[in-house]
Each structure stands twice: as C-alpha cells, then as structure tokens.
Amino acid sequence: MVNGLTLGCVYAVVALGYTMVYGIVQLINFAHGEVVMIGCMVAFSVIVALAPTGLPPFVIVGAGIAAAVPACMAVGFAVERIAYRPLRNAPRLAPLITAIGVSIVLQHLALLVWSRNIIAFPQIIELKLFHFGSSETSAAISNIQIAIIATSVAMMAGLLLLVYRTRLGIAMRATSQNPQVAGLMGIDVNRVISATFVIGASLGAVAGAMVGTYYGIAHYQMGFLLGLKAFSAAVLGGIGNLAGAVLGGILMGLIEALGAGYVGDFTNVCLLDRFLPGFSAVCEASPESSLFGSNYKDVYAFIVLILVLVFRPSGLLGERVGDRA
C-alpha cells in the first residue's frame, strides 16, 4: 500500500507532464518518458560525483535534482522546437512520428553517454523504516518514501499555484482553450507552448531523480515503460486535466502494487486447482507458482488503459473527448 502510494506519486508527477502538454497542444509528448530517463541519468551522474565528498545525503540528492532540472528543461525545449513546432499545422501523424524519432535518438544518445548496462545508484541515504504499529511486521514506511511523497506533493501544489495564480498560468489556460483567440489577446502562444514543455520536463526531471533513488537503478530504456504507465495514469484521470493526472497517477501506483500482490495470490495454481480441472499436477510440482504473478505487474497499467478507453474514454475527471483520428 505504501509502496503503491510512493509509486503513484511518481507516476502522478510524470503524468502531469503528459497532461499539461496534451491540454495545450492536444498531442501526446512521446518523448516525455525519455526526458524522465535523462533526468534520472543526470541526477545519477551528479550523485555519483558528489557521493565521496561526505556531504549530507539530502544535499547530494538535492544537487542531483538541481542539475537534472535544467538539463531536462533544455531537452524539453529542444523537443518542442524540433519535433512539434515546425509541424504544428501538419496532419497529426507527422508530429507523432517525429516525437518517436526524437525519443529513439534521445534513448541512444543516453546509451552512448551512460552505457547500456543497468547502472546502480549509490546508496547514500541510509534506509530507515518507520512502523505504523508496534510490532516489526506491521506496515512500514521508509524515509525515502516519505521524501518522495513530500516532494511530489510539493511539486503538485507548486504546479497548481503556477497554473491558477500566475500570469503564465492564465496564459496557459487561455492557450489551451483557444490558441487563436489567446494570440489575439496578446499572448505569445509559442512562448506559452515552450514554457509548458519546459515545465513538464522539469517535473519529469524531478520524477526521474526520485525513481532512480527509489529503485536504486537506472537504465537507458527505463523511460519507455515509465512513460507508458504515466500516460495510462493521465488517461485514467482524464487527459488534459491536472487534478485527474494526480488522481490517476496515485490510483495507477496502487493498482500496480496491489495488483502484483493480490492477482498473484488469486491465481495461485493450488487455489485454481480447487475450481478448475487440470491444475493439480502443477500444484504438486510447484505450489508457490501462480498463473499471473508479479512478473506481470507491467501489464496492469496497460489493461487499465484499455478498460478506460472502452468504458470511459474521457477518464475519471475528464470533460471532453475527441473522436477524430
């Protein structure tokens, strides 16, 4: 449950990046997962460089994030310039294809810089567990998880403030409603769209750093699945809707964490043996194995995505949905 919540917060922050871009240009930013990956990698490099200095761990991680944010902002800006701006009025297939191209290029540039191996984050933060009960077996939350949840909440609050309380936020909302009219009102639409990509990317950078610290590993292809799950979360909540992305992200984290545990238990071969014929031999051979164990955890996000698209395409909190291809 706590794992799910932590994961959910990370998904929510990444999903915000998707949903913001979608809200403004009505396009999926396929390269967003790669932005998160680059954030993770940059943070990793800084943390590795600073780890031997003996600075307090939170300063080191903070420095990692501080380096990752501008790097990702630059990437986000470049992605918008290269892949989206020149094709803003082209048929929608075109920017999707360039975005895929850009994300492949980013992935393999990262491969060149950081090698194709799974790289391990140095363990600089000593893991402390805080138990909710008195016994050792009761549910626990670690200090890293607390930090991730707190950071995510702060980021979300900051974003909401930005969107609903600042001039830039007003401009963003105006642009998402009607770019032409917003332009007529004196808003520099290009700048607003750039700003949206950059803000989304900076959220992605923080999320990347958090994922890296949480799992302790990073890989040049990590952005793809993370991006897919976060996108599913954004769709679940209703794409284009900020609160929806947060809700969807947290739900997605919970579904994944709980699903991996419970679906595994429910499809345990010995349990199935009681209801369905044919499982007894397997049950005797390996009573622990289940039909859909935790190795299927990556599938749940996708199933959720399909279910949402079939039954409620506008998402939980969504308002509108286009059915044009």
Binding site: F30, P86, I97, I100, F224, L291, N295
Partner: protein, 364 residues
Amino acid sequence: MGTPSTLRDDPRLKWAGLALIAIALIALPFVLAMAGTAWVRITNLAILFVLLSLGLNIVVGFAGLLDLGYIAFYAVGAYVYALLASPHFGLHLPWWAILPIGAAVACLFGVLLGTPTLKLRGDYLAIVTLGFGEIIRIFLNNLSEPFNLTNGPKGIATIDPIRFLGLDFSSATRIGEFALSGTIKYYFFLLAVLVVVIVVNLRLQDSRIGRAWEAIREDEMAARSMGINTTRMKLLAFAMGASFGGIAGGMFSAIQGFISPESFVLNESVMVLAMVVLGGMGNIWGVVLGAVLLSFVPEILRYTVEPVQRMLFGRSLIDPEVIRMLLFGLAMVVMMLFRPAGILPSAVRKRELATGREGDGDDA
C-alpha cells in the same frame, strides 16, 4: 496508335523492363554469394523487412493509423509457426498449413486490439499499440510458468525449416556440379512471397477498400458522410496489416530456426515504422525502397564504421547497433520535417501533406 506514346506506355517495353528486373533479382543472390553468404542472409532479412513494412504501410500509409507495436503481430506469427513446427510440443505441421494459421491468429489479435481503440483518436491508438507490443513480449517472456507455452526467455529452438517439393530449405541441394545453398533457396521463397504480397497490395490500393482507406485518412468526417463505415474499415486495415505481419513472422521463424522474445522488442517496431516513413507512406514502391535502404545501410555501416574507428582510435567507440538506431530515429525526424511524404511520395499523400501544412490547422 497514332498518338505520341511515351516509353512508359509501350507495353512491350514495360514487359522487357519487368523481365530485366526479374533476371536481376534472380541473379542477385549468386552475385552476393560471391561476396559471402552473410550478404545473402542480410538480403533475406531485408526482404522480411520489406514484407513487414508493406504490412505496416496498410495501417500507417493507406489508412493513416499510427501503429507502434506492429512487431507484436510479427511475434505472434513467429510463435505460431514455432509452436506448430518444432519439437517443443512435438507438432510438425507443414508450412503451407501454418502460415495461414499464423496470419489468422495475428489477424485475431489485431481485431482484439483494434476494437476498443479504433473508435478513438489516432494518438490513443499509437500509445495503446506501443503498450501492446511490450505486453506481448512480457507474455512471451513469462508464459513458461506454470504451463510451458513459450519456453520463456530461452526461446524455442530447432524449428522445422520449410520443405517444398521435396527440397529441404535448411541445407544445400546439389544439382549436378552446382550447389544451391539453403539461404539462396529461402531467398527465392521469400522473393515469391514478396511478389504475391506486392501484387495483393497494388490491387488492394486500387480497390474499393483501398479508396475507402484513403478517404478516411484524408478526412474521416467526409468519408463517413459518404457512407463509409469508418470503424469497420479501420479495423479491416488493422487486421490486414496484422495478418501480413503474421506471415512475415512465420517465415522469420522458419528461416532462423530459433526465436526468443528478444527478437521482438520495441526497437524493431520503430525500425519498421522508420522504413515506411523514409520511403513514403502510402506508396508501395517507396516503402519497398525505404525498407531496402534501411536494411542495407546499417549493415554497410557495420562493415565500414567499425574498422574505421579501430583504425583511428584503436578501439570501437560507438557500437554499430547504436549508430543504426540513431540513424532510424534521425531518419524519421528529418523526413517528417523536410520531406514528409517520403523519398518516393505517393501522389495523393503528397498533396495531402502539402495542403495540411499550409492551412487547415483546425483539422489537426
């Protein structure tokens, strides 16, 4: 008769040209074999990629739907072949029975995936197919427990080769002095399939269905008002593309003799898409050209860049595989920005992509 006809219109010249191309294609493997059997094998893989690109072209080029998990159908076809013609289950069906089954199963998967998503906007389809490709791979990787269906990451080995007219395609046949290697036999087999697929594609493009797809791609609203059942037509495009992928997958299985989930990663889908985009979406010959180019150029680079790097720096700095993927990514970006209709654009597609740029931004 009296009208001045260009060379193109003369039927005799046309046939002569076709005959010339046919002779060149028949001679090709023997010429390549002199440079090394590896090149014939690369050519075979290139033909497989041409088949895949043609299948994806139906979805992306004809109907204008972005499918990013196309390799999943290839995987389905490959695994169907592997399961029905290997010692894994002890089944050894002949290829002419399995290839249609593979196509049908892939088609079924296409329909399953397309039904919920095709009613929605194009980008949903793109991301759902992206996920689908990955999910299929996860299942292939994990379906070794508790029932061993796919043998997990270890893959399935010793898959039966194709046997045809008493010829075993896995080994060389001697005809007098002359030895015909298995790779070359596969080349001719693939070539024959390719010709059939191209003819089917050409006929499809000009058919009622092909024109309906084109209409949907250009303006779905208008197509619907003209009485086209758009959802059904899109589903049909998706299913047909999937079946072609399934056939190509079955042949991949037979040629390689070994498959594992490793062969069906996302990058493969992206490669096929890059081939379609580079050559020109919607143009059959363009797609063929794109697939051939993107199959051979990385191989040529592999044989040139690596030695050059060794010469200059004493070791290999950049993995050729990375260069290859960078090339694919860049090809897509550059093509979309500067020549969105591809190297050999289809006439209609060119018009559409050009007008799309000038005006109707609201449409997007």
